[in-house]
């Protein structure tokens, strides 16, 4: 078992910081635009492709070569080293109880304004003496609901896989918190002047951008967190499940949920027993509002003509009614 990971799994030779940009995907332009969804969603018309990409599928399968993480819940021992490393790497305030205090497990916690990640303890139905621990943090969706919700574009999905939040573009509507299928973004309600969303950054600016491993993966002493190319992680996860089918449930959480996430999980017990939201649809959330948004330009185009005609008909009837008495008079002459 790998201890204290320092190099990403599946990192190509020499691709260094710019790995994802080298990807030779011919339809990338089209896909990227469709993914960003901006023009497509507001005008309701799929982005018009250039000649070379006109036949590309509209399905976006995620940034090629993006990074991700795989949490193996069977390996986690609840030491909270990841919480501690995250806290230090991101200069977050020191918690009230030290990181080696196990009493925090008495209740379920969630990421909040002071913690990007938390570990919760669950009873193990297979073996009462070895509880299961689950690390919670942003799953870095391939097509994030938070980004689809944000009216100011404060969220962006980087080619490396991280979902980034820019507090300079946020007015604090908290629609991203409503939209997130995993209830991850937290809000800094205490601040009067500079409240902002708080969530895991995948150590993007300090580490991942430079080809380094996230702080939590680096700190994990049991190898429960593996950082690497998402495609490779899926292969690793599959291999582990195949090798020990009795140990794992046959499911990679995050491979398809909410359109796929860059942070994935394998587990020894069914995911719903660990409070994973198992009713999340597999299609990306943005697909759910596309139909509605596509009606917007139709209303703008058709309504003026339709209701203008109603008004014209009304006016016509008024004029016809006004003409009638005059006509009758003429007829009687």
């Amino acid at each position: 078992m790998k201890i204290n990971q320092t190099e990403p799994v599946g990192k190509d030779e020499g691709d260094g910081e710019k790995a994802p940009d080298n990807a030779p995907v011919p339809e990338q332009g089209m896909n990227r635009r469709a993914f960003l969804g901006t023009v497509a969603a507001i005008s309701g018309v799929a982005a018009v492709g250039t000649a070379g990409s006109a036949r590309a599928s509209e399905d976006f399968s995620g940034w090629p070569n993006s990074y991700g993480l795989l949490t193996d819940l069977t390996a986690c021992v609840g030491c909270r080293s990841c919480e501690k490393a995250c806290n230090e790497a991101n200069n977050l305030p020191k918690p009230a109880l030290p990181f080696d205090d196990a009493s925090v497990f008495d209740q379920k916690r969630r990421p909040d304004a002071h913690a990007y990640t938390v570990v919760n303890r669950y009873e193990n139905p297979k073996d009462k003496n070895t509880p299961i621990y689950r690390k919670v943090q942003c799953n870095h969706c391939k097509e994030p609901a938070c980004a689809s919700a944000c009216p100011i574009h404060a969220y962006s999905k980087t080619p490396e896989g991280a979902v980034k939040y820019n507090p300079d573009l946020c007015f604090g509507c908290r629609y991203c918190m409503i939209a997130c299928p995993f209830s991850v973004p937290a809000y800094d309600y205490e601040s009067a002047l500079e409240p902002r969303i708080v969530k895991c950054t995948m150590c993007y600016d300090a580490r991942v951008k430079h080809g380094k491993v996230t702080a939590c993966a680096e700190a994990c002493p049991t190898g429960a967190i593996t950082f690497g190319k998402r495609d490779e992680l899926i292969k690793i996860a599959r291999a582990r499940i195949e090798k020990e089918p009795g140990k794992y449930v046959d499911h990679i959480f995050g491979e398809h949920e909410a359109g796929g996430t860059n942070w994935m999980y394998i587990s020894g017990v069914p995911f719903e027993q660990l409070d994973f939201p198992t009713n999340v649809p597999n299609k990306p959330p943005i697909e759910l509002t596309k139909g509605f948004l596509s009606s917007v330009p139709l209303v703008f185009t058709i309504w003026p003509a339709l209701f203008g005609m109603c008004y014209a008909a009304l006016k016509h009837r008024d004029e016809a009614d006004n003409d009638k008495p005059a006509q009758k008079k003429e007829e009687s002459k």
Partner: protein, 412 residues
């Protein structure tokens, strides 16, 4: 020079007394302000307004429950999600009158437009209270364009529609200020503004429902439906008709001296007409909701705790007001229609609170305990609602809304 200044000052004083003090002197005016209702208003405001100040000095955590699982509370559930459908009055009345030719409803059009304008204005005020950084309210228009977001559409449309409604209401303001030439210009754009109002209203009324489409896993399936935009739009239309009945009833009761014979004489008949429209609207909406349950095959969920509450909403707060309205229409009783209309308005609020609060994150532990609003947030909501009523009354007292201005009586 000094003489000229004195004349000017005199003019200003008479203008001030005429326009703002309704022709009274200061002592007379102040005396009229001491009423039981105003005493209640003063108490509500003296609690709520300081709390709004606290919210801006100490942050949202000081007055709301500041929950990461429940980011939206009653400020938006009441102020935005209930306030906007109840403010569809402007678009519904203007469309009925100017586009479809319901000419007899003339005396209620201005009241409808004013109700709509103030409703949107206050929806924005609730929103500004709830936003983390309200001073960035213009960001979706100028700084970042989240064009894939339904909220981006709502932001643009509410801002634009607020302007449209101000223009629609401007003839009343200009008559009050006796600005005849500008009023003529304002009248010329009426049809254009009305059609703009239809476009913007159909889109953002439905968009408020579409906002919840993003969260299928968190909403109770009985309230989540791909038809949410249609539900929100169609219910806003009967909400508007019922709301015009409510507002006109209250005006005729409490501001009788500001009405004219035309308004009072026609009101009972028009109320019955509006009641007919509202009841049809309710039946259409009810049918759509049934289709929604059928479409997702959610019948089996009806016999659960949440299912029972859904049935209460549908039967008691939607169908029953519709039946009361129909009964009133059948008996030609404006009194019964008014009861149905008040009931229907209440039902709209129940629905919007259900969608935005009760059905959201229903599967979290202690859900129903978490959604009880904290008293400070409630006090803020009450204070803003009270301001809304006071400003509404201030305008009805002064501008020609419930009556026609004598100078423009035959100018329609």
């Amino acid at each position: 020079m000094s003489n000229g200044y004195a004349v000017h000052q005199d003019n200003f004083r008479s203008w001030f007394m005429d326009k703002l003090l309704m022709g009274m002197s200061w002592p007379e005016y102040l005396k009229t302000l001491i009423t039981p209702f105003n005493v209640i208003a003063a108490i509500v405001l003296s609690v709520g307004l300081p709390l709004i100040a606290v919210r801006f000095v100490q942050g949202l955590a000081s007055v709301t429950h500041a929950s990461n699982d429940y980011p939206w509370g009653i400020l938006l559930g009441w102020g935005l999600f209930s306030g906007v459908p109840l403010s569809a009055t402007g678009f519904v009345m203007a469309t009925a009158y100017y586009i479809f030719g319901f000419k007899r409803y003339h005396s209620l059009v201005r009241l409808g437009v004013l109700t709509g304008f103030l409703g949107y204005l206050f929806a924005v005020i609730y929103l500004l209270t709830d936003l983390g950084r309200p001073w960035r309210i213009y960001y979706p228009m100028m700084v970042g364009f989240g064009t894939a977001s339904v909220l981006f559409l709502v932001a643009w449309h509410v801002a634009t529609y607020l302007t449209v409604q101000l223009l629609e209401f401007s003839p009343a303001i200009l008559e009050w200020l006796k600005a005849q030439r500008v009023r003529k210009w304002a009248m010329m754009i009426t049809i254009g503004m009305t059609i703009a109002g239809i476009i913007l209203s159909t889109l953002h009324q439905s968009a408020l429902g579409a906002m919840f489409l993003l969260a299928p896993g968190k909403m109770h399936p009985l309230w989540y439906s791909q038809y949410l935009p249609v539900f929100f739009l169609s219910s806003s239309i009967y909400a508007a008709l019922a709301m015009v009945i409510v507002v006109s009833t209250l005006s005729a009761r409490f501001l009788r001296d500001k009405t004219d014979g035309n308004f009072l004489g026609n009101l009972d008949n028009l109320t019955i007409g509006l009641g007919t429209g509202a009841s049809v609207g309710i039946y259409v909406y009810f049918a759509l909701k049934v289709i929604g349950v059928a479409h997702d095959d959610n019948w089996s969920l009806l016999n659960t705790g949440y299912g029972h509450w859904f049935l209460v909403e549908m039967l008691v707060f939607v169908l029953l007001p519709g039946l009361i309205l129909s009964l009133g229409v059948k008996k030609r009783s404006s009194a019964i229609v008014r009861i149905g209309a008040f009931f229907a308005v209440f039902g709209i609020i129940v629905n919007r609170i259900n969608v935005s609060t009760v059905a959201f994150n229903w599967n979290l532990q202690d859900h129903l305990h978490h959604i009880i609003p904290p008293w400070k947030e409630t006090a803020i909501v009450l204070a803003i609602a009270m301001l809304h009523i006071l400003i509404f009354r201030w305008i009805l007292n002064r501008m020609p809304v419930l009556r026609e201005h004598p100078d423009y009586r035959s100018s329609h």
